[in-house]
Symmetry: C2
Subunit: 276 residues, 2 copies
């Protein structure tokens, strides 16, 4: 792994790494925050998956999570949202191609060679971080918007790998959303049976989650029609799924919303990841 | 004032305004955070002046100060660092012209028409905010790098207008620095007597400050040669100026440094601005 930048932050260290990804078949960039506690002992890791158009950098610089992670003793990782580079397929739309990987493993051309963000996060990057960083093997996952979709779907499909899960304004039902149908069709093909493994509402309905789930959603979010929180909320209630779903009055879809509730999410994960 | 964007944040409101500045003779943009307390009663205002190359936006999105301002009940304002626009003089260098106003009132061509950031902050923007926002008239000021220079020099010259002052890695002695001499020569002319009113070390030596001062400086700062904290530190000691000067081990010049100590600065100002 190559270090692109490194700064001391909140008594810990904020580092941007680049590495050659075998899974995505390109160079990938990600940010890591190690809290001061990591100098003394291995720490849990909280994954933060970002939304459409973001790189590894947006949440790392805008969400303010490092202060809370330093307080509670969690490491943070901020992966990129897609493969990138001149040789990587792309689309003119902001919500397909580079910056819009949707945390799936594409099976269709021209996407299948590089767009494998699900396997990248769950397997390759997880293994790389386990080897390179002082982690204790306890993982939580969160994310915003497309990244909230990624956090929920990755956790729901891998309950043995993640002990805690939360989301900020997640795309909750992408198989019935403009943020989902077009992309799943492009990446996964027109057979909608292949989409079900990437829809948090369908996964929750099918499998539930062994722990509890925290979801925050702003009531002034500009994208409520695409996010469809009512579908996931209904399933949480009807399945009797332990969860805290908060409709936060007046908040929109921006990082101001994420930053406003970041401390609550980091504490939520810390309480579950640091428990014996 | 025109509202360019507005988001709820930490129970308060983050707004970006644009207005016609008579002092700078151009459109000026700035960010304001109003804490939740401002809905109930007028609040103090903490000014945050930004550094070279920044706009109103960098600290607003990266420094994480809103969380602390919401806790303590302070409003924040993030002015731009210079006049801007197609008709505004500029220079190819990053440290002269747009993005590099140095918080002075230029007297030289081609700068004197627009580059009047000292008067803009102290008089025009202050009056505008007093009229437009629920402020109680108690003002503090801080800033980073060039903005730390601005905060210190503006406060030291206006002790009746600002009750509290702090700085992050300020340019401390610009009349003896590469970050100062070239710009003061361009904006103020070659008579160095005109520069003394914009050098925190010279101002402190001449006038002191009626309260105490908080300054944080990272020991791994890439720009220590230009910042010259040792000059200001020596004067603080020799003048017996009440102050807290902290050399923070391992921190560089980035927003990771500002964010790491932002809470301390907001609390410092709150304790002084909220005192009876």
């Amino acid at each position: 792994m190559q270090i692109l930048s490194q700064s001391q932050s909140h008594g810990g260290t904020q580092t941007v790494f680049r590495h050659r990804s075998a899974v995505c078949d390109c160079e990938m960039t990600f940010g890591v925050f190690l809290p001061p506690q990591a100098k003394a002992h291995p720490v849990p890791l909280l994954w933060y998956l970002s939304g459409l158009t973001c790189t590894h950098e947006n949440a790392m610089t805008k969400a303010g999570l490092q202060a809370h992670a330093a307080r509670y003793g969690l490491a943070l990782v901020f992966p990129d949202t897609s493969p990138r580079g001149a040789g990587v397929a792309d689309d003119d739309a902001y919500d397909l191609g580079q910056g819009a990987g949707f945390y799936v493993d594409a099976t269709q051309e021209p996407w299948s060679r590089h767009y494998r963000m699900f396997a990248y996060v769950v397997h390759e990057l997880r293994a790389l971080l386990a080897e390179a960083l002082p982690l204790n093997g306890s993982h939580g996952i969160t994310g915003h918007s497309m990244g909230g979709h990624g956090a929920l779907t990755i956790a729901l499909r891998n309950p043995a790998l993640f002990r805690s899960v939360s989301a900020f304004a997640p795309i909750s039902n992408p198989t019935r959303s403009d943020w989902g149908r077009r992309q799943f069709s492009a990446y996964l093909g027109d057979d909608e049976a292949a989409w079900a493994g990437h829809d948090a509402s369908l996964l929750l309905a099918a499998h539930g989650w062994p722990g509890d789930i925290l979801i925050d959603q702003g009531t002034a979010d500009q994208f409520l029609d695409q996010l469809r929180p009512e579908v996931l909320a209904g399933l949480i209630a009807s399945r009797r799924q332990p969860a805290t779903l908060r409709l936060q009055g007046g908040y929109d879809h921006s990082y101001a919303f994420v930053a406003s509730f970041g401390e609550d999410h980091v504490r939520w994960h810390a309480e579950r990841l640091l428990a014996a």
